[in-house]
Subunit: 281 residues, 4 copies
């Protein structure tokens, strides 16, 4: 008997009986619940759940069993095979620390993703990317933003990417492009949002004299730096730390925060909830 | 229709179908699941769960419905009314920072407990405790440890205390007394265990030259400083911080860690799992 | 030979030779340097220094020796006797957690200050304050802000307070009052500034969905929530933490951050540097 | 006029007048003090200082001026040119996360070192190292420990390495080899020392059920895992984190802690003080 590892995620308008319908259904299929977390959000009257399952039946069989019940309950749901790694396209500009970190963590098996390629508006990272055996797509802005984004969008489609990660990609996506990627594009912003939106956040932080700096991973939306926050982290600084040194200190936090957000997304833990996220498990 | 807030906790030898049996049972009684977390511990093949419920029926009714199913499934379970605050007896010696913090947080409604009294082998905290309107029991060691512990144990019974908190109580409990309180006695140790067990941990930390100090809240067991850890936290120090200054810095961490452990215990989030804990939700 | 513990602080326009002039002068008086930190701020071309001294001569003698050299070098300087505790007036409204923490830490010798009284626009804290043997001044806003502030200012003068601490004092000081207290009034703001200025910051934080909340201690200036930041700290939160729970979690951080800022100020470690601070040693 | 950036470090038996002798001497040479920190350690009656200088004269000139005064005062001193990067030899076994991090931070200018080569008892990292243009020395243990260490020691000499970094090098150095490298060899231990010395610390941490794990960078001494601690850091874990996941979480902390320790050492900030360190500035 093969043991498949699946994750069932769902959200629904809050009402009693959802778990009472789902749990027996899983048991009937012989599934064993390994982890489960349920969160009822009072503000939006929405019920969120993530259930990790060891299943003796294949994904299609289980999905077919779940479908009619899910429809009846009004669930927005997904059933994911953990053996099938998420396909990720990374975009980068000149600074490679997040890219290098994502590649290294993927190579050593710490991130359950397949990096299907790297897009950049600069050539700086080409050698690094290609040495790791990954396709590098040089997409300069010389032909204008619209053309560049059309090519970028085409690459996402061709690569069949489940997720696009802006790993210090210093171009602002157009509203249309952002909107089309909603829920499947993660950006790292190099400040502790909502402090220091926009350009040169470490220099803003230095000018303000804060004692702690940070980084924020969020889903990309048309509202720049306003997307749902997935993860944040911080580091202490002192008066003696220059803006340039903040840039250096911040690199580690950016890479750490971004890789956690990508991992949680790839493990189907993150739910968008309006302008916020719910992170389960 | 009154909405009761209950917490159902259970553990069981790991097997499929537990949630499939429990969830429909709750639904049949009209209960709404507000939070749920399930954790299957692979090392011990044990299934742990905490479910927060809004219930239209009273505790006895729900308990009666659960009992036969729980017996059939082999659950070690409890059903707790969140409106019934846990009764807590605090033990302290001369240093009052954890005690003062627990009293203040209880008074302002941040800790869901009733402090039913304070036991001490010193008189230092008597005035403070009585000013807050709490019974103070002076239990000196003058008559010997056995007699003192017998009185202490009697007070726990008389006060009908659900939990005893050793809030910098500088006496080592005897094996028998410890064993009798297993799972319902929390101690704060002023180091980041397992580093610096025993006496004067900040002086040990200073002598070793660590760069981070901490505190640990754990269940009391006959093995001193070896009980299941509930919570830990840390603070940075430098070479310039003396042992006495570590004592001062550590007070905040101790109070913070202890109050979190007490809150989680009072909210029925903490499960003992051999020499470890599982903290849900 | 008595050993006096002094702190010499100074700032000056940056130029070579300052320490070369000061250090021999201290040696001539038989002083032993125990700690010293020097920071040359490149942005403002200002030199800051704090020197902790063990001195065989009394303060006046040492001060008389320093004065002419300091004048020649253009130093803005102070010589402080660590045996003379700073006089602190605390202002509070209804929430007592920072007040209780400051009083407790002062009583156990952790804060080198004398609390000379507590001012409040509410009576909520009166009993607590008086039980600790401290003068409580009830200053309601009923007669208007101008009159209330005049009384407040009078109390600062009468109490000969070196420092005024706004320990969750929920009144905005007028520009004139703020300006008059510049550099000797510390406020705790219950957010990680510059995020969430103004009212109800935890509710703002909850609405934005941040994963980390914080608190900020800063000098009061006429620009609300824009004064020089002395210290900040943070705590993790999740999607499941309500705004009210953030309020509860935040109390500890507020008390911790505020007491550190007060201690550093009382130990003459904090220098205002435009809209920023330099914190030495 | 060229501005040289030097760092003067010294330690001495504690006595008054040291800074009074040194500061004027620096001023006479036209030097400008940019940063200075002085720490008098009461336990060992030792005075430590690090002074960062902008100097118009070359290193030899300044050193010649300092030497006689230093001798008279009994200083153990050094004068270091910040333009001369420290030469670092890295040792690694199979796990490359610390190595990759050190190389990346060096390449982007975040670490002021020259990596002069990489030594390994495995071939796993050879391709990575060579792709970055660095010499890789494969030193298997097949010929016995003594022979391997002799070759290793020879490489340190040939490379004229100022510092050897054990970046997850899973061989225990012999007492003689350790002793010979004292003060110029840094190891990363994958636990929060003194907890979990020896092998498989994450597995020890998992077995004990700690809620926080960490990493420690320390100078290597013949006493395994007992050398002076330079830096430590931690991450939170829960009951649900397996030992293998702790290994993964810990990688980031290890790399971060090690790179900070290496940077501080390379900037001449770290002093050994018996079994402890003093880290200035």
């Amino acid at each position: 008997m093969t043991d498949h590892r699946f994750v069932l995620t769902f959200r629904a308008p809050d009402r009693p009986g959802i778990l009472a319908a789902i749990a027996p259904l899983l048991a009937e299929q012989g599934c064993d619940i390994r982890e489960a977390e349920v969160y009822g959000d009072a503000d939006t009257a929405t019920f969120f759940s993530r259930i990790a399952i060891a299943s003796p039946v294949v994904l299609d069989t289980l999905g077919t069993a779940i479908a009619p019940v899910a429809t009846e309950l009004g669930l927005d749901w997904g059933l994911h095979d953990l053996a099938k790694r998420m396909r990720v396209l990374i975009a980068v500009s000149k600074f490679g620390h997040c890219l290098v970190d994502l590649i290294h963590k993927t190579e050593i098996g710490q991130l359950p993703i397949d990096i299907v390629g790297v897009v950049s508006n600069h050539e700086a990272m080409q050698q690094t990317v290609e040495w790791h055996g990954l396709p590098f797509h040089y997409l300069p802005m010389t032909g204008g933003k619209a053309a560049q984004e059309a090519t970028f969008a085409g690459l996402i489609d061709e690569a069949d990417a489940d997720l696009t990660v802006l790993a210090r990609y210093m171009q602002i996506l157009s509203d249309d492009f952002s909107a089309g990627l909603q829920g499947r594009c993660i950006n790292i912003h190099h400040s502790f949002l909502p402090s220091f939106k926009g350009a040169k956040p470490y220099h803003q932080a230095h000018a303000r004299g804060v004692k702690i700096i940070g980084a924020t991973a969020h889903y990309v939306t048309p509202d720049l730096d306003e997307g749902p926050i997935i993860e944040q982290d911080v580091r202490r600084v002192t008066h003696a730390v220059t803006a340039d040194e903040m840039v250096a200190i911040g690199r580690e936090v950016e890479a750490s925060v971004l890789s956690r957000a990508v991992r949680w997304h790839a493990e189907h833990r993150v739910f968008m909830n309006g302008n916020k996220t719910v992170v389960l498990g």
